[in-house]
Symmetry: C2
Subunit: 244 residues, 2 copies
DNA sequence: CCAAAAGTGTTTCCTTTACACCCATGC
DNA sequence: GCATGGGTGTAAAGGAAACACTTTTGG
């Protein structure tokens, strides 16, 4: 197969797109950026931001381009990673499309930047997506499920969660990110110690956060350290918090 | 982007292929099936088995088809899983090709079945691939590195390693698979106990293996159990064995 | 009886867990 | 002083590592 000389008419043509699951944390709630479709199949359903890969564009660059069209976040504050490729022949009723899905963590994306067109973009809580009440286009529900699970799993043994924050953060803010992402409660003391033990995982900035109006001891501020892996990993225990 | 009506001339056409990393264990050595290219670019270099995805074919089906063309293994003895997608614009000098890579574990593939054509297929030890002495086509070296790491990692917390065996196996055979894959030595007693503790991970067949000619107590035979995850996971320690 | 491989017991060490306690701030 | 959250001490429980020991076969 691979041995024949190539000819434009010799191979089946595919459209290749990228779709990006953009995760963010707003007020201790895990959210994902979705776009409500204005036309075409799955009109009014929610879809992931995405689009065609350009003829000379690398896959990762295409994902980064789509991400930036929606957020205007600077490169260095982004974690962007390939999730997997979805290419069932029936996934788009119009033609054969293979989509390479990516997932990203960006800090504090409150409102997506409005595209010039009238597309309706919104950051939707993950709880709402997981409830199944949202109508999602194509196979985007499966992509979302896979992306959320991948993020939850990767938070166990890497520092990806630092990307939820723009600059520095306190240990309790960091812990809140874990509690929101895993829908669980973590013991503050043990969480603190666990991170201290792994040298270079978090780097102290030397500064302290302004103590909240409610009082309490001011917390030390940290940034992501040079060590990106946590070993042994954190463990997510059973969800304890509100499921409403 | 995704909103426009589609037209064959409206999107950049890509060729989509699958490549499959087929891992197997022969006489306690981890090996991968490679094909020596007879023509085209990278002539005489080694390449992964693969080919075009057909117009109405699912990606996973395409990978399974390519796998079967090389091995004649029955479905149920195979672990097949998507690895990732590689689509750099320069990866194939002839045209824009995006390839979806898969990795598989098959039992005891001593000799690949010869295709009708004169292609030269061989199972190559992983150590040789990792040495960097082999000339590999396209970006297949990167795909191989990623696949080997994925397999090593997945062996820590799942039962994928059971797929190295056709039927039942002893605990020491199972341990040998880990030692070969991780290039390490594992304590026989502790390995045994670890697997016993996780109920349903391995199911005893009730039979015993014929004791080897060298003597020794006959070992109990096991098959993969209903529980596919190992928690807490096994840990790979530093390589101890020969690196020559 | 001896060699060899399978499988079990036992001790030591380390990590996690639970929870009590001290620290530093606002009011 | 008191409430509030940040951070540390500590003891109990659990798993992993090392290694001695018992079991079951072939010669």
């Amino acid at each position: 197969m691979t041995e024949k000389p190539y000819d434009p008419h010799d191979y089946p043509p595919f459209a290749v797109t990228v779709d990006v699951v953009i995760l963010t944390m707003v007020k201790k709630t895990l959210k994902i950026l979705l776009i409500q479709r204005g036309q075409g199949p799955f009109r009014d359903a929610w879809a992931l931001p995405g689009g065609f890969v350009l003829p000379d564009e690398d896959l990762g660059d295409a994902a980064l381009r789509e991400l930036k069209e929606e957020t205007n976040i600077s490169d260095d504050a982004i974690h962007l990673e390939q999730l997997g490729t979805y290419g069932s022949p029936e996934r788009d009723p119009r033609m054969r499309v293979v989509t390479v899905a990516y997932w990203a963590i960006v800090p504090n994306l409150d409102k997506p930047i409005g595209g010039g067109d009238a597309r309706h973009a919104e950051v939707v809580p993950v709880a709402e997506i997981e409830s199944g009440r949202l109508r999602l286009a194509f196979d985007h529900e499966q992509i979302l499920i896979d992306a959320i699970e991948r993020m939850r799993s990767k938070m166990e043994y890497t520092n990806v969660a630092t990307n939820f924050f723009e600059d520095s953060f306190t240990v309790s803010e960091f812990r809140s990110a874990y509690e929101a992402a895993w829908d669980t409660e973590l013991n503050p003391g043990n969480f603190q110690r666990k991170l201290q033990q792994s040298a270079d995982f978090l780097t102290p900035t030397g500064e302290k956060s302004p103590s909240e109006s409610s009082g309490g001891r001011p917390a030390d501020l940290y940034m992501a350290g040079p060590e990106k892996d946590l070993s042994p990993p954190l463990k997510r225990s059973k969800p304890k918090k509100s499921n409403k």
